[in-house]
Amino acid sequence: MKLGRNMVPLALVGLGTSLILLVVVVVVGIAWYSNPPFGLGDAPPQPIAFPHTVHAGAPEQGGQGIQCEFCHRNVTKGAAATVPAVEQCLFCHQQVTGTTETARVEIAKVKASFENNTPIQWERVHRVPDHVRFVHEAHIRFFTEGETPETQLPVSQVCSVCHGDVAGMTVVAPKPGQSLKMGTCLDCHRQNNIPTDCTVCHQ
């Protein structure tokens, strides 16, 4: 079939439109799936293989049962949970030097960091964008000091709502299926009758 002369522009318009649509779909797709609130991938390799299982895991499973807030001590005080200072690791690791070869190697790295005065550069696992101000302290307090049983949880249980069972992870990964997008925040705020005003998080 021969295209009528007057149909050529129409076809071009159609082609153009579908090209633009394709670009939009691709861009939106990339944006949606690569957006940082979604997490940064599964479990990035860390400079020091720090097994949360050994430190925070339950004693009956071979862990030390250390509470989250013992190391992430800022979590009950301020906005950021913070990773502990190397100094704090050495409170124990002056004595505890490891029972296996791998442990000895990894613990030696911590000591070296302290002695050489070089900070450890951890890979980020959870991240919200810069325009979000998430205050850990307020969330922990709400769920630990409330008046109903649902808001009188131990700290570690509050953490696991978003972070999953970190105590059971040898390598920290995002909680499967847990989005850190705004919708998740809003759902929880609504359930607990917390203000959902934009300025609560965006300042």
């Binding site: 939106v28 949606w32 950021a80 200072a85 900070p119 951890w122 890979e123």
Partner: protein
């Protein structure tokens, strides 16, 4: 998924975000979390700490709190308990943060590698730098000059003793010096320290040339009091403020009435007012007129009858509204005498004429007549600090002193010049010849500047000082708030790891030690000296801090930003009674102002301290440069203020580049048409025209950034030796070129509809309708 409105918006919005995030990769550092190696006890990430210290952006050294997060200073705010500024701050205070993290800060010690003044330096180690300085001191210490900003308290003590130990001298440098003001106040009130002016409780404030809301002496303190003066709690009537000044300054703009007087005639007006008060018997009860006039009464001031001076003092026709100028003087005198407590202050250009000392004496003598000496709402006097060794009075060199320094360099008597935040090459009139003296063979200049400026660009050796937020220090406010105060400055952050500055005080102490001249300087560091004073104050057991131990006292002092003793205020300093025959004596000193420069078709030049740059010390700070001048709203440039009509007569429009010529030199600047300037006056701010150092200060064209000090010929105030910086006449000519003025006014234009846009915005009422505040 159904396409609801919200979903659509989310998708549309995200596609925009997606486009952006595809184009700009996320920064690496956002993806790492750093474990600090050590965690100081007071550093909790995400929580802020506020430390009390002192601000050094202007000479009044306000007490500030600095917000520190994760080891970085984030915000400066007034310290609410510090007596000088009581929690308030000036436009300059936050600038300290930019000084701290300035991209053009000097990283470490340097020595000159090119010819003098080329600004070429090479980095050296601190050991080498200190050795070089020590060598110079050993060889040329006697006759050495240590030039600093006006130093008080511990650093003043150390600098003074240091210079003495090496047989040199220490001089403080102020661009627009207060030498004349100090001399006048001491002569009239017989008190060595600057007094406190109790604006807050005054009812009528008469200011002659003192731009006290912007830059004069202690502007934040006066600003705070000014708020009280206008609508303080428990105040019955709003205070009345009259400003007598030949230039329309920011303070004049705030006055209820502005009286543009001929430059230099302030003293005549003041004595004329005194004549009216005495002859009409308006003085406050208990004022002994006989004593103050030497027994002559009004006759002592006969030559100053309003009718006699009215013709001289240059009151413009339009102000009189059919009255004679003499009537205006009489009205002013009556208002001043009747609305007690009334207060007269003088400074600025009033004291910067050949007859400046006379002007200021006459102004301050007025306070005796209205009973405002040593009383609430008047002049209050300061007792010194109980620690006698600490200088509370800045040791400032007069113009004569600086001329002597230049002469000594030229004669070879001074072979070593040490400079700390005293920009002599920039701030002294060219006629002093300081820059020429710097070229002398065999002169060694050591600078302690944190930034490159005009003087440190001439230096042989630069030993960068710490920024005050990284350093120890102290201050005895001058003027003090009516009682003794010792302000304490403590380091709130450490320098960034790329920088290796050393504290000026510590370097002086270390060098004195190294040269075996430390007999009078028994401290290893400035902090030790502070601690010693803290222990002495603790032993006094009085004042604002009650502590059980010396350590606790020290910690509390650091927490609060200082120590003060309100009980040792006005009670300890008896109000002086007027010296016998004071008015007669002042009348005898009366003289007409003398001007230099072209007489015909010329203007009075009135330079002034810039609201945020001051004398140029803040010109490297973007916030200070970008803060609009309150009256003209000009930023970043040197503007030449001219009367609107006069300028139009001369064919000048805004932004026209004009050449301003005096007897001493010429500069150029951009015309600004000011509707409020007298037609025979031109106003030019200090602070621009740098050719060295930070590009924020030096990176602009010469026609829009120049140094007004280049126009001054170094005339002196008779009797005080201060710089008569308002005594030059200049000629203004168009150059034919034009540049746009970077000003703020006109930025928001939407509302400026109609003839007088201000009326819709600023509503006005009369005092009778303003009851209940």
């Amino acid at each position: 998924m159904s396409l609801t409105r919200r979903n659509f918006l989310a998708w549309a919005g995200l596609s925009a975000v997606g486009a952006v995030s595809c184009a700009i990769p996320r920064k690496e550092q956002e993806l790492a979390i750093e474990s600090p190696v050590r965690l100081p006890e007071d550093l909790v990430e995400g929580l802020d700490n506020w430390y009390a210290t002192l601000c050094r952006q202007c000479p009044c050294a306000e007490g500030v709190l600095v917000r520190v997060m994760e080891g970085r200073a984030k915000k400066v705010q007034g310290n609410p308990v510090y007596p000088v500024n009581q929690g308030k701050q000036s436009v300059r205070c936050d600038g300290g943060l930019q000084a701290l993290y300035h991209p053009h800060r000097l990283a470490g010690p340097m020595q000159r590698s090119g010819p003098r003044g080329s600004g070429q330096f090479q980095a050296i180690s601190w050991d080498a730098a200190l050795a070089a300085l020590g060598q110079q001191l050993a060889a040329n210490g006697s006759g050495m000059v240590l030039a600093t900003e006006p130093l008080r308290a511990h650093l003043g003590l150390i600098a003074g003793r240091f210079a003495q130990a090496f047989g040199g001298k220490h001089l403080g440098f102020e661009t627009l010096d207060q030498v004349t003001l100090r001399a006048a106040l001491e002569s009239v009130y017989q008190q060595p320290l600057l007094p406190d002016f109790d604006l807050a409780q005054a009812n009528y404030l008469l200011s002659f040339g003192a731009d006290f809301l912007s830059t004069w002496l202690s502007p934040t303190r006066y600003g705070q009091a000014y708020g009280q003066f206008r609508h303080g709690e428990g105040r019955k009537e709003r205070g009345i403020h009259v400003q007598v000044e030949p230039r329309f300054s920011m303070t004049a703009a705030n006055a209820d009435r502005w009286i543009p007087i001929g430059p230099g005639w302030e003293g005549h007006l003041a004595l004329s007012m005194a004549q009216v008060i005495i002859s009409e018997g308006l003085q406050a009860p208990g004022v002994n007129i006989n004593a103050i006039t030497g027994g002559k009464g009004a006759a002592a001031l006969e030559p100053f009858r309003p009718e006699a001076v009215a013709g001289k003092i240059g009151l413009p026709e339009g102000l009189l509204e059919g009255h004679s100028a003499a009537d205006v003087i009489k009205e002013l005198a009556r208002d001043f005498a009747k609305h007690r407590p009334s207060l007269a202050v003088g400074g600025g250009s009033a004291g910067a004429h050949s007859n400046g000392l006379f002007n200021l004496k006459a102004i301050y003598a007025l306070n005796y007549l209205v009973g405002s000496v040593g009383t609430a709402g008047g002049v209050k006097f300061n007792a010194g600090l109980p620690l006698n060794e600490l200088p509370s009075n800045a040791s400032v060199g007069s113009l004569a002193d600086w001329k002597k320094v230049a002469a000594d360099i030229n004669s070879g008597a001074t072979k070593l010049l040490m400079v700390h935040q005293a920009d002599l090459a920039y701030g002294l009139p060219a006629s002093v010849g300081m820059v020429q003296a710097f070229q002398r063979e065999g002169l060694f200049i050591a600078s302690f500047s944190t930034f490159l400026d005009e003087t440190s660009a001439q230096a042989d050796l630069i030993l960068p000082d710490r920024v005050y937020l990284e350093d120890w220090g102290s201050d005895v406010p001058d003027p003090a708030p009516g009682y003794p105060v010792l302000g304490v400055q403590q380091p709130v952050v450490n320098p960034l790891s790329d920088y290796d500055p050393r504290s000026f005080g510590d370097v002086l102490l270390a060098v004195a030690q190294q040269q075996g001249k430390a007999a009078n300087l028994p401290w290893a560091t400035l902090r030790d000296a502070l601690r010693e004073s803290s222990d002495k104050l603790f032993a006094l057991r009085r004042g604002s801090i009650r502590a059980g131990s010396a350590d606790e006292f020290w910690r509390t002092m650091l927490q609060r930003g200082g120590w003060w003793d309100e009980s040792a205020g006005i009670r300890n300093v008896a109000a002086p009674s007027a010296p016998a025959g004071l008015l007669a004596q002042i009348a005898g000193e009366a003289a007409a102002p003398v001007f230099s420069g072209p007489e015909a078709e010329s203007f009075h030049l009135l330079p002034f301290s810039h609201n945020s740059l001051l004398d140029g010390r803040n010109s490297h700070l973007p916030w200070a440069q970008g803060a609009p001048d309150p009256v003209t709203t000009v930023t970043w440039q040197t503007w030449v203020e001219l009367n609107e009509h006069k300028a139009k007569e001369m064919g000048l429009r805004e932004g026209d580049v004009v050449k301003v010529e005096s007897a001493a030199g010429s500069i150029s600047g951009l015309t600004y048409l000011n509707p409020a300037l007298p037609p025979d006056v031109v106003g030019i701010p200090l602070g621009q025209g740098r050719r060295h150092g930070s590009e924020y200060a030096s990176g602009r064209l010469p026609e829009e950034s120049s140094n007004v000090m280049d126009l001054l010929d170094g005339a002196q105030v008779q009797g005080s030796g201060g710089l008569a910086w308002a005594a030059a006449r200049v000629r203004v000519t168009a150059t034919g070129t034009s540049r746009r003025v970077s000003k703020f006014e006109g930025t928001s234009m939407a509302r400026e509809i109609g003839e007088t846009p201000g009326e819709r915005i600023i509503h006005i009422t009369s005092p009778s309708n303003s009851g209940g505040h």
